[in-house]
Symmetry: D2
Subunit: 146 residues, 4 copies
């Protein structure tokens, strides 16, 4: 990934998440686990808002197949976190997101993540195409993955 | 509550819960919120084990109506926590639990909690009697509430 | 507590907290434990903002001595939660908060909580007076406890 | 990674973690975020036990630089999770762990993770060598990374 793909301006969507006292661990910064909670919240919150649908009730649901995070700088309570979302691959049945976490005025990310959803039938849990309403919501987020 | 009702020996059931690194907050002890996670886990884990049933699939489910906790001493990672369970009221539609949290060899609690379940119909969410299988599992835990 | 003390308008301060996907449990509503995370975040976030001080670095820190919650209605992701704060007792060494959680336009609370901080010396952990900066920040929140 | 490196038997150390009711999300399985809490707990719990030291008080502390997880099957409450630990790289200042999560009798993992600690001076936060006590504890876990 080239450096400019990590900047705040490289993400078509930014979601605001309030931090919590409990997010910080004994080292006085947001614990590494919590970054993934921000990822999960940003992706699903965007999908619910952009589709106008409770995605949990669709016939196909997105299961998380893989996630990654590169931790670049501390996040702290009580400042807000801004989660940038981009889609680097919009496949038949899967979606790959690039996520950047930002805090304060900096354009430099505190973390860069990768988040992969695979869509499965809500009943059978067999792999199934990305629902049309979700595909439509994600198309504007598609960016090169260089 | 008399003092002896707070001791480890006053609880008919003890459940072991492993602490997690993330449970500790910036002050280097388990965060107050996490104590309630231990309560929730002890009650529901006991009910699943004692009934041999996935209680989430019953026609009536227990919703939490009220909880309380008195914080008496620190809990720390990585030691295990022992959650003592007693039932101080087994009503028609509700159950009141007294919960004690212990760590290490001490008989003195780190916390004393109160946890109230009200049973509702899984579909309509109307108040409904405690299911027989749950009532049977809880009867041995009933203790005076003095 | 009289009913009007439970309404949104009865709380001098309202703090906004964004919900998270992970806050919901298997029943499709915010898990009871998470309500306490909202309490903790609202109180400490207010104190940090109102004092302009990182309260974790003061000579006296607030330990949580007791909390309670009455659960009145569901909270859901992805809507924001508004946490109302009032101080029902501002003692020499302790502070008792009343907290109301609200979601959407309703003036009726989803939950009413009680949260008690006892101040202790950061080194010795002996009970000590509420720091002046915190007392000053809390005075405008003091309300009758009827 | 060859397939046999994913099996339970490929991990020199197994740590037991109790699941919690709150770990499950609306889909009725352990939420993806929580897997990372298991990673964090297994690594730090092992280090504390194996060194006999509270690693948070050492002059050098391990900050998490990168984590990953491949989600292969569901985990559920109330069964225990077994976290297998192996060290695939024990560098001058960093340690790379491979982690496998298992539940029930299966030798097949529910998840395979990667967890990277970089050691920094506790005061200056500058990169510093892995402390000797930690290096000694980790040497028996070193395995090929094929």
């Amino acid at each position: 990934m080239t450096d400019e793909l990590r900047l705040r301006t490289a993400f078509p969507v930014l979601r605001t998440i309030t931090t919590r006292w409990q997010d910080e661990d004994v080292y006085g910064h947001v614990n590494n686990v919590v970054y993934y909670s921000y990822f999960d919240t940003a992706v699903n919150g965007f999908l619910i808002d952009a589709t106008g649908t409770d995605i949990r009730r669709l016939d196909a649901v997105g299961l998380v197949a893989e996630t990654r995070c590169e931790f670049l700088r501390e996040l702290n309570f009580p400042g807000d976190v801004h989660a940038g979302l981009a889609v680097t691959r919009l496949g038949t049945s899967s979606v790959v997101y690039r996520i950047g976490l930002f805090q304060g005025d900096s354009d430099e990310p505190a973390a860069i993540g990768r988040f992969v959803h695979v869509y499965v039938d809500a009943q059978t849990r067999k792999v199934t195409p990305v629902p049309d309403t979700i595909r439509a919501a994600l198309t504007p987020l598609a960016t090169p993955s260089r």
